[in-house]
Symmetry: C2
Subunit: 611 residues, 2 copies
Amino acid sequence: MPKVKIISGAEELALDAEEGRNLLSLLQENNLEVDAVCGGQGRCGKCKVRVKGAASELTIKERDLLSQLERERGVRLACEVEVEGTIEVGLLSEGDDETLRILDEGVAEELTPQASIEKDYLELKEPTLEDQASDWTRIIRELDRELEINLDLLQQLPDILREAGYNITVVRAGNQVLQIEPGDTTDSLYGLAFDIGTTTVVGFLLDLNTGKQIGKVAMANAQKTYGADALSRVNYTVEEDGGTLDLQEKIIGTINQIIGRIIDKYGVNRDRIYELVFVGNTIMNHLLLGLKTEYLAKAPYIAVINEPQSIPAHKLGIELLDDTVITYLPNVASYVGSDIVSGLLTTNLNQTADYKLLVDLGTNSELVLGNSDQMLACAAAAGPAFEGAEIEFGMNGIDGAIEEVRITDQLEIDIIGDKPAKGICGSGIISLVAELKSTGMMDESGKLLSKEELPESVPEEVKEGLIEDDTNKKLILVDEAEAADQPVTISQKDIRAIQLAKGAIRAGIKILLKEMELEISDIDEVLIAGGFGNYIQPKDAVTIGVLPTAPDLEIHGIGNAAGSGAKAALLNCGQRDEAEEIAKEVNYLELSGRQDFQTEFMDSMAFKEFE
Amino acid sequence: MPKVKIISGAEELALDAEEGRNLLSLLQENNLEVDAVCGGQGRCGKCKVRVKGAASELTIKERDLLSQLERERGVRLACEVEVEGTIEVGLLSEGDDETLRILDEGVAEELTPQASIEKDYLELKEPTLEDQASDWTRIIRELDRELEINLDLLQQLPDILREAGYNITVVRAGNQVLQIEPGDTTDSLYGLAFDIGTTTVVGFLLDLNTGKQIGKVAMANAQKTYGADALSRVNYTVEEDGGTLDLQEKIIGTINQIIGRIIDKYGVNRDRIYELVFVGNTIMNHLLLGLKTEYLAKAPYIAVINEPQSIPAHKLGIELLDDTVITYLPNVASYVGSDIVSGLLTTNLNQTADYKLLVDLGTNSELVLGNSDQMLACAAAAGPAFEGAEIEFGMNGIDGAIEEVRITDQLEIDIIGDKPAKGICGSGIISLVAELKSTGMMDESGKLLSKEELPESVPEEVKEGLIEDDTNKKLILVDEAEAADQPVTISQKDIRAIQLAKGAIRAGIKILLKEMELEISDIDEVLIAGGFGNYIQPKDAVTIGVLPTAPDLEIHGIGNAAGSGAKAALLNCGQRDEAEEIAKEVNYLELSGRQDFQTEFMDSMAFKEFE
Ligand code: FES
Ligand code: FES
């Protein structure tokens, strides 16, 4: 009988398994913790493990859900693996999952922890009449370097030293002393990485000594009360006195709540967190810093700052040590933020001769095409359709949202949380439109065919869902009986909204190719960044023609690349410099200034493959 | 008839003068402004002018009142000069007097203004769709350097730039931007130097572009309500909760009042003052920064910090731009502060092979002996007798204080402000004791002789003033009729207090000589620093044996060396580095740790010349 060796942190466990045994069920039977949000259907991508040895071949679902680098590192979805002989299985703890992404993906090999915060433990000599050096002189003499100390800490210094019996740990960022702690605290060195999304904010707690992620906490961005999308928040700041401050308070509030939860959940001492690196789009970055966004949003679209600065926590009202260093990765331009720079950093897009296309789909869809020679970025104003807005039953990807639709002999519908359907989210819409296209229920122009025009092959049951009135055609996805409140439908109008979004992105990609004098066939890989990117099936994106296709052109979701970049920069100063280099190397192409964009946009409307 | 050419700033004036004409009276007659506090008696030293050409020889009074460097530069006391032929006279305005001290004395030749604050005027290009660089990028791109900007300023940046039409002046200290001003303000660059004395605080306003002193304002140190001397203020901080804060508030209050007066008086814009450099003794330095002084005052006498740090004005509550840089010169040790380092800096004591002795007489008397090879400092606890305390009629050098006593055929007494006498100040006591010694009214042991023992040569009128009771002898200086309230006397007990002070200082000097293996004859010059030093006659100090004497040994007052050092450091970064070097080079000798100090102290008591 095949042996399965399970490795979980420092512990090991040996199990027997029948040949052909499903790995997820084996793990579950033995009470080994593996996330299986989709219940083993190969859809959530949460049941990641690392597998060595005689396991079944990689499935198509795994190709879709695992990044190339994960695959190279032997990461598998447990629900898709069958035991074929003796294998070794590495479990990834909640934290490890993310550590893996930083440490084992892309940034990988070189990323030994090298935080910008350093600690030195000093056993100082007590003063005597023969050695009257000042308190401060004792410290700099021992460290043999020039240092700066702020006044508050200096005022506490004599008591700290004497109470600690002159055995202290100096915490510093370069030459700036942040804290002086009694005794030897060199073991405790923590930092936070934050991905500030328009919708969701995620905070990651990292041990800066080991490079390990300890955990993470996600919460909704409290700015949402001022508008779901970034631009409506900008409008609020322009229209309301003190609006910038309101929005800054909201995001700082969210950050403080996340920090509070992280401290509760992982039992780390608030005073041992010395640095916070955040990433986000340029608007989120500006709002967090309390910077005017007005000029970001109107031509010629000028940011206040793109370059990183260090800000002490107390200046922002972030509830950490007063001098905890808050910093951020650089932005490229007003519509290409540090989240995108993070994506370039974690995928090493700038380091190989192969051309890669990084896309982050959303209301503002960022696109970067490049390799080690050149990188060109643009932002396509896709509108919020992909995020479910401007769609009659559109909604966020939360419980009750249809997240995937397949047309087989019937309408197969997946609903988040397996609850009665309330609406449809972005990935659901894209899969639905792709299926409508594939089945011929919609033509290339985006027109829903009427019942009479439908091809034979469309199952009767699906046909029946099509209803037409004078002005609009609709397809019932979930009828009244099964829906939460009312039938969930998609209409011709909804499809037009998707079409505009898709057209803008496709036109953006075409302009990038044209500017760089490249063909689709020159692109080696398409990387889908952003939370949303994790949920769309690449094949759907190809089917509706938003992403290009070509033989050997791989398309992957790269997960939360924004968070990964923030973590990499937090852990390793070299990554921070690298991010600055990348931001400088990327050229930004303003589409609104281009006459050819409108032409490309019109040409990109058709729902046909993008070749 | 001799011609006198008067030069005052940019103006010139030609006068005729009889041969032998007194220069001061010539100037006064022509309504030319010269200070003559002592009315032309050659005692106040205020009537300084610069003279070239056929003038009378330097008088003894001028030797006493002018520093060697002043003399080398042609500075004379107008009241002592007779016109002998054609001469050129340079008038020194209120400010120039001080400029002279910095620019023409010691620090002199090399001291071209090179402030640590720099201004760059930029005419930036307005943003367009073709050039979407961020506001900040525009600035650093133009300056072609990395810069840091604080959050408050960054928040104002977009409006500043747009309101200024992109023509701005960037004010920075190194890489740190302090301010961004609309238009070209490079002409306006001011700084303040502060001499924080235990008794008096003086603020100097300097134009950092030209290096000129614009003016100065002096006020009493408001900390005096917590004790006249520094140690009683330290005691207050030890005994009262929040005492350190109370004292910090007081000195900050004084500084703010001085700044207010400077702004009113000289019409400078508060927002164009970018730096403040202060000096003072180590206790004043600590109290200004709000640092605990407890450990300064008790063995082993440890300072919190001696090294300079930069502190933004708002952190200290100093009413200048939030980020005006507040800094200070380094201290050597708990009892040798930055005021002494200033003295070393302005006299270039560390730059010649000649040995010089710098003394700053006071309750804590600082002594530094050295040359370019070695410098050794110590602090002698002289007690407050030299400052008039512990003396029955002792008082500060204010109106009504006897400041000089001479015994000729009678008691000749000078009173400050020519008011009825209230008491006697430090310089008065020293001159009196010197006269008592010279006339033989007091013997070497410090004993006042009784009427019968007095030498014949003592004038009858003086003898009559001597009164004896059972326990004490007293000499009446001013009798009831002429005194403000009651007769002003000096007693045997008062003389004993002076004797202790003198003994401590002389013992300190002896220990320094011994440690450095030098003889008095190795000392080339004695420099008397500190406000008090300006008022004592060197010959009196020699007579009572507090300062050494030897053929060719010159003794000079060097004026407000503390203020001069602060000004030099403000004007020129090189001087700041030099001060740091000096503070590191000076070795500090703790007298309280030495057994031989008591022996030397006893040996130093006698009122006889110190050879
Ligand atoms: S459990 Fe969801 S993909 Fe495996
Ligand atoms: S007027 Fe006082 S010294 Fe000349």
